[in-house]
């Protein structure tokens, strides 16, 4: 990977949430290598830092982003945002639970400030979640689209699907039993809240494609139609 011994430093700026590093648009492997070398040179400075990377027009795939995140975390640096001008990169970043330019800007510029209400963070995915996709998020997940068979969503919070749930979901994966799963139509391969698995396939068949809300009641998964508030 490293043929070039010269180490170029990427410019670093401090801002409210942490450090902003502006990366160049060379070959991604090279950029990642340079960034990691830069961090290794100043381990103390970077230790425990929260970092956002600015990547401009570059399109970064989820796997590359996750790779960078893991490499950084091995060095005690937390990657929390990827700022790009590409919508695809934004969507990929969101699927990994990373912030994007939009969400960072929104927090910085809107007068509301972050989380003045006691709500929880959520990620919004506006697409069909297809087979082979795995989404893990610490917080709530909202999907505007279907979750297809072979796709899986794990969250520490609740999962709301404005579409058909036909794949696998696990809400409250750290054990929180107060989480819910909602879907416009329920036909999951696997549905879990906290450590309780939905088993009643007969019941699911009876639901007749109506929107449902699933919660834990007295240690049991309970399905209600999603038409009135609890």
């Amino acid at each position: 990977m490293n043929k070039d011994k010269k180490i170029i430093s990427f410019p670093i700026k401090g801002f409210k949430e942490g450090l902003l590093i502006t990366l160049s648009d060379e070959d991604w492997d090279q950029v990642q290598f340079q960034l990691l070398s830069q961090i290794e040179e100043k381990t103390k400075f970077f230790s425990g830092a929260k970092v956002a990377v600015e990547i401009g027009e570059r399109v970064l795939h989820a796997a590359e982003m996750a790779g960078l995140r893991d490499e950084l975390s091995d060095r005690g640096v937390k990657l929390f945002a990827v700022l790009s001008n590409s919508q695809v990169t934004d969507v990929n970043a969101e699927s990994l639970g990373l912030k994007t330019r939009k969400s960072v800007l929104r927090e910085n510029t809107s007068g509301f400030g972050p989380a003045v209400l006691d709500g929880k963070a959520a990620v919004l995915l506006q697409k069909t979640i297809r087979s082979g996709t795995s989404i893990k998020f610490a917080g709530n997940v909202i999907v505007d689209g279907d979750v297809n068979p072979g796709a899986e969503i794990f969250s520490t919070g609740s999962i709301f699907i404005w579409g058909k749930l036909r794949g696998s979901v696990h809400a409250g994966m750290e054990g929180s039993e107060s989480e819910t799963v909602c879907a416009m139509e329920l036909d999951p391969i696997n549905l879990r809240i906290a450590n309780i698995l939905l088993k009643d396939n007969k019941l699911i068949r009876k639901l007749k494609r109506k929107p449902v809300r699933i919660t834990i009641d007295n240690g049991k998964l309970t399905i209600n139609y999603w038409d009135n508030k609890k």
Binding site: V88, R130, S131, G132, G145, P149
Partner: protein, 267 residues
Amino acid sequence: MAAKIITISSGKGGVGKTTATANISVALAQLGQRVVCIDSDIGLRNLDVVLGLENRIVYDLVDVIEGRCRIRQAMIKDKRFEGLFLIPAAQTRDKSAISPNDMIQLCNEIREETDWILIDSPAGIERGFKNAIAPAEEILVITNPDVSAVRDADRIIGIIESEEKGPARLIINRLNPEMIKRGEMLTAEDVLELLAVELIGIVPEDESVLISTNIGRPVVTHEKSIAGQAFRNIAGRLMGNDIPLIDLEYKDGIFHRISRVFNFGGE
């Protein structure tokens, strides 16, 4: 004008990638287009057999990439169809013999001399698939109306989206109206509802496909074959012609329309 590069892929094996590539290529050639089809299924080549060009292979794709011959030498001219060429896969190597970049370069080299480049992708989502989609501008995903083929198509469409090669268009192959009538097969509607992509054609199940594959004469050359007609329609749609699809709006309509196809031999 530079050629349009299209890859035909499915994820699952045996759903009809090679048959579709051969037939769409021939149909485009019959419409007066210059077509180069490339078999990227290195080690398991088939496209040459389906096109009936097996015994004319001298050089193959890997020979070109490894510099043993010029591209022109590996392009087999199909004497039956003016303008149709095949670049066959190597049979004695495997997918690691070429890289996505090799495919991009190869396509760029022949792009100016042809109207279409159709790439037949191998099954799977590994190296061979990545090679096949690397140069593509558009990907046609082919599936059968069965649960496992649809699941794999969904996965492929997801990868295509994340590689920004999308949006893919869908071919539903081997639809059997009799089985649908008996409720034993997914309908085209079921498939589309799950995959949520644009449909470019429905190919009904047709015995003549198998027969024509065995004799190396693509079914599209049979005027009366309904599958052949469906492939001709797909080629027409690729050309940008407005050829109406089977109406999927009406739930009952689909059987009706397809049975009409059977009766009149045309969509």
